[in-house]
């Protein structure tokens, strides 16, 4: 790699974009490509909500310890020391709402426009000032460092809408009855699909960020490379950036977001990298998911590759559906070519990663314990189950000896096959007809799963006029019991707490 940097310095470096690489590799083979090409440039330009800006305003006189701050009426977080602020890209303004947000403040700063800072201070002996208003430009800030927790997704699901009404989402306007498909990403030009094994990309890699030079500072939040959803956390100096590659945006009835132009140069160090950087649009596959389902796990409509998405039409259930993007292929190409140009001019040197990106990440769903209780959070997990061979007397003895009125009946391999209640036993005894519980148990049992919202399970109890639901895992084994007792206890607890 130092050889490549040497060639960048003396101007003899050979650079092509990731869009040009597949044909070159087809023509020369990977060994030929390693000989002929030093660097492959990638680029993407799309809405990246998870972006923001650290600003240091300098100290006022008398000094203020800012506790709350607004830039053009967009609130910035003031809980970082005295005059360090963090402005989030998706924060809407208090007067213009979604039409103007943190992202637009960033664009205004880059474009040299005035920004009004309003701040409230926590008064202390060392910071006596309580309020402040001033007009600032980008130059006036000591530092303006963009730090984006999650940018440049390796791939992102495309969106469609099965419902009868138009949806306004962060994936844009989705017309009813699969009226359109909206997608994001730059296909074969995107950085991460060109280095999916992180042979070069890692912590410390120098990148093109919105027209300036930035760094990858680690894997992004929700980084999940094991599923093909790697992300990057990046930083860069806003003072070097250009509004050609950074834009504030508004998604209707969703809010503000930031268009970020990001490019990674990848040195063709070996044939493996040559092969990976020759990736084509048709080899990058994602899913079209149905945003009509208002849950975290949305159903997949079909799988699709970027060649199909770029064609403008995809087939859904035999119908031709128009596609359109939220990210710009046009500006993504400009990112890659601007990066190529600065490498050729000797202004952009490659930097080896100081640490690789992790190969395994985590993007688990939220554990919701308050407003959104799950069955697993409140169920009783001490359950006594019985086999169907036992007789009524034994069942009665178990119920009398325990603290429950319900006995789940299980098969030899522990699977739920029925349920017996104290009432069933009384009935059987009164009629004096049956002796084994297999003859009297309820075989059609309503069940719950531990990850089911409690609200839905409670509705089930009410609707079917029953007092208990066995909770089963995916193999249909009983792992708990949810009774109306659990629900009333929960309510009683809440009432006590609110007093």
């Amino acid at each position: 790699m130092s050889e490549i940097n040497e060639r960048i310095r003396d101007g003899s470096v050979r650079v092509i974009t990731a869009e040009e690489m597949p044909e070159l590799v087809e023509e020369l083979g990977t060994d030929g490509a390693v000989r002929e090409v030093d660097v492959v440039t990638t680029g993407t330009f799309g809405a990246m909500c998870s972006s923001g800006l650290f600003l240091n305003t300098g100290h006022s006189d008398p000094p203020i310890k800012i506790s709350k701050a607004w830039l053009n009426n967009v609130e910035a977080y003031g809980g970082v020391a005295a005059v360090d602020l963090f402005l989030g890209a998706t924060q809407p303004s208090e007067d213009k709402g979604d039409e103007y947000g943190g992202a637009h403040v960033m664009e205004d700063l880059i474009s040299g426009r005035d920004v009004e800072l309003r701040a409230q201070g926590a008064v202390t002996d060392c910071y006596p000032r309580s309020e402040l208003e001033t007009t600032l430009r980008l130059d006036d800030f000591n530092q303006a460092i963009m730090v984006n927790p999650r940018n440049s997704y390796q791939r992102y699901a495309a969106a469609s809408n099965s419902t009868e009404r138009t949806l306004h989402t962060y994936m844009g306007t989705l017309l009813p009855r699969y009226g359109n498909v909206s997608y994001s990403g730059a296909g074969a030009l995107s950085p991460l699909p060109n280095d999916p094994d992180f042979e070069y990309i890692g912590m410390g890699t120098r990148i093109f960020l919105c027209g300036g030079q930035g760094q990858i500072i680690g894997p992004g939040t929700q980084h999940l490379p094991q599923n093909g959803f790697a992300t990057l956390m990046v930083k860069g100096d806003l003072k070097e950036m250009s509004s050609e590659f950074l834009r504030g945006a508004t998604f209707q009835d969703y809010g503000p977001s930031l268009y970020v132009g990001l490019g990674v140069p990848i040195p063709v160090l070996n044939e493996r990298i040559a092969e990976k950087t020759a990736v084509r649009d048709r080899e990058i596959v994602t899913e079209i998911v149905d945003y009509g389902v208002p849950r975290r796990d949305r159903p997949t409509v079909r799988r699709v590759n970027y060649e199909e998405l770029y064609s403008g039409v995809v087939d859904i259930d035999g119908a031709e559906v128009k596609t359109s993007a939220l990210s710009s292929r046009h500006v993504a190409r400009k990112v890659a070519s601007a990066l190529s140009d600065s490498i050729r001019r000797g202004e952009f040197l490659l930097s080896a990663a100081v640490e690789p990106l992790s190969r395994v990440g985590r993007n688990k769903p939220m554990r919701q314990t308050k407003e959104f209780l799950l069955v697993g959070d409140v169920m009783g997990s001490e359950v006594v189950t019985v086999r169907e061979e036992i007789n009524i007397k034994e069942a009665a003895r178990i119920i009398v000896g325990g603290t429950f009125d319900h006995l789940p009946v299980v098969s030899a391999d522990e699977k739920l096959i029925g349920m017996v209640t104290a009432w069933d036993i009384s009935k059987a005894v009164a009629s004096d007809k049956t002796s084994h519980i297999s003859e009297m148990m309820t075989r059609k049992v309503f069940i719950a799963s531990p990850d089911e919202p409690l609200e839905l399970a409670a509705r089930k109890l009410h609707h079917h006029k029953i007092s208990a639901l066995p909770v089963v895992d995916k193999d249909h084994r009983v792992i708990g019991m949810l009774t109306s007792d659990h629900l009333s206890r929960l309510y009683g607890k809440k009432r006590r707490r609110s007093k």
Partner: protein, 128 residues
């Protein structure tokens, strides 16, 4: 050619479009119509050779007629060529030419779907 018809309160309940068709024998395609209790806004498409005659016929009936020559304006400084406007336009006004979004304004019927769908707010209707 697309014509925007502004129908005033006094005449909005009359079968104006039918009577113009019967008189001019023009093939009129109604692209968009918004008619409420007091007024109406109708966009029609009519062959170029019948355009002048149809316009006159509507005006004789008290309708204000505006030629939709340039119904929508795209601010090229704001547009980032993402293409969000392409799939939501009912008349196919926008398309990619290479990787750039271009508008065929002659197709626009001013339904305004694209105005809010554009993340850059780069589109504007020319209202007359």
């Amino acid at each position: 050619m697309k014509l925007m018809l502004h129908v005033a309160p006094g005449i909005v309940r009359k079968p104006i479009v039918s009577s113009v068709i019967l008189e001019t024998k023009a093939l009129i395609n109604i692209e968009r119509a918004k008619v409420d209790a007091v007024s109406g806004e109708i966009v029609i498409d009519v062959d170029l050779d019948k355009c002048v005659e149809v316009k006159r016929a509507f005006e004789e009936r008290g309708v204000r007629v505006v030629l939709l020559e340039n119904p929508i304006i795209k601010d090229d400084d704001e547009c980032v060529h993402c293409g969000a406007c392409i799939s939501i336009c009912p008349t196919g006004t926008f398309r990619f030419e290479g990787s750039e979004v271009v508008a065929d304004a002659g197709r626009c019927v001013q339904c305004a779907s694209c105005i809010t769908a554009c993340p850059q707010r780069a589109l504007r209707l020319v209202l007359k």
